[in-house]
């Protein structure tokens, strides 16, 4: 999918979700692109089927959940907890974990690292220019970079956010990569 096709994603979604019902001109523009672009047309058809499938799914019935019990538990808690502001400092561990995580993501993406010397070299490189490397895609894997670029991360994308947004599969691949590095 080309860069310009990427820009049609939002309007395609709007059309699919019926958000362009009152904007005939916008709808016509999307349809014109779909007519001219087989890639987007295929994407559109396929998303349409996915949305239709998702719309058919039964949601878990929560009518029988014990809402009274929930309310009672909350009332019991707040009876001894008057409204106020509570301050919780972030654990120091978080900082270290975030730094380690950035290194791990980038190491994983580097793909060809074996020796400990190489590992250290990359780590110091990351410390010096981790954010820039992330931003221009030199260090991270294509999958992670794609996620970073496509998901509209701010330039100072937080590492926690990056980790949060990794899927189970990506975490598994990361774990594997680390085992190789250790060995």
């Amino acid at each position: 999918m080309s860069r310009s096709c990427r820009e049609w994603r939002g309007p395609m979604l709007d059309l699919l979700e019926g958000e362009l019902e009152h904007d005939a001109a916008a709808a016509a523009r999307v349809r014109a692109h779909l007519d001219a672009c087989p890639v987007c047309a295929a994407e559109y058809a396929s998303l349409q089927r996915t949305l239709a499938l998702l719309a058919r799914r039964p949601l878990r019935d929560d009518a029988e959940r014990d809402w009274d019990g929930l309310r009672r538990r909350v009332q019991a808690e707040i009876a001894t907890d008057p409204p106020r502001r509570r301050f919780r400092p972030a654990p120091i561990l978080a900082v270290t974990a975030a730094a380690a995580a950035l290194a791990l993501v980038l190491l994983w993406g580097a793909g060809r690292l074996t020796g400990r010397g190489e590992q250290r070299r990359v780590l110091s490189q990351i410390e010096a220019s981790g954010r820039e490397a992330l931003a221009d895609g030199r260090a991270a894997s294509p999958q992670v970079m794609d996620a970073v670029l496509a998901e509209d991360y701010p330039v100072d994308a937080d590492v926690d956010q990056l980790i949060d947004d990794m899927s189970a599969d990506e975490l598994a691949a990361l774990a594997e990569r680390l085992e190789m590095l250790k060995g």
């Binding site: 089927r49 499938l53 998702l54 878990r60 949060d164």
Partner: protein
């Protein structure tokens, strides 16, 4: 603001004037949807219960600072989604404490989603696929597709741009399509 938002604001005013029943009424009105969102994100009804309970306790503490410019639902969902993201993050952060443990611990957390996709019921299969989405995409998906919230409200809940939320939703749909394609015969058209 629609009628129910107006009602919510009235309830908050009554609560702030010292009428305790008004907070109960807010819980009655909003607990089910808050629970559905938490369940969609966490995949576990009991954890979702915990999150909703905690969210209302925090809401109770913070309501004196509620700004009547926003909807109560938006405000509550921000608490719920952040609590869910916090739980997911903590579960993952344990895995990031040391290089030595990391691979093993990550491994213990993986493999499950693919197997869960074998479940036969459509709802359960989709639920299992949703759980494999990255957490924030999961939040966007649940609020948009399942709960029908608008992009502007979701953006406000997540502190992201509307464009970013839309891109998230698009990616979530693409991933779900891939996850479900292997298990679904597309024979229903």
């Amino acid at each position: 603001m629609n009628g129910s938002d107006h009602d919510d604001h009235q309830l908050i005013r009554r609560f702030l004037e010292g009428e305790r029943w008004a907070f109960d009424a807010l819980m009655t009105a909003h607990a089910p949807q808050a629970h559905r969102v938490a369940l969609g994100m966490l995949g576990d009804p009991d954890q979702a219960d915990d999150v909703v309970q905690e969210a209302f306790i925090r809401a109770h503490r913070a309501l004196p600072r509620f700004e009547f410019r926003s909807r109560f639902r938006t405000w509550l969902h921000r608490i719920v989604v952040n609590l869910c993201l916090g739980r997911i993050r903590r579960a993952r952060r344990v895995s990031l404490v040391s290089l030595g443990d990391l691979a093993q611990r990550l491994r213990a957390r993986t493999g499950l989603p693919a197997r869960e996709l074998e479940r036969r019921d459509l709802g359960e299969r989709i639920e299992a696929a949703v759980i494999t989405l990255p957490p924030k995409q999961r939040a966007v998906f649940v609020m948009r597709q399942q709960e029908g919230l608008g992009y502007a409200e979701i953006a406000s809940i997540l502190g992201r741009s509307e464009g970013g939320v839309r891109a998230n939703y698009f990616q979530a749909l693409q991933k779900l399509r891939r996850a479900l394609a292997e298990h679904e015969e597309w024979d229903d058209e």
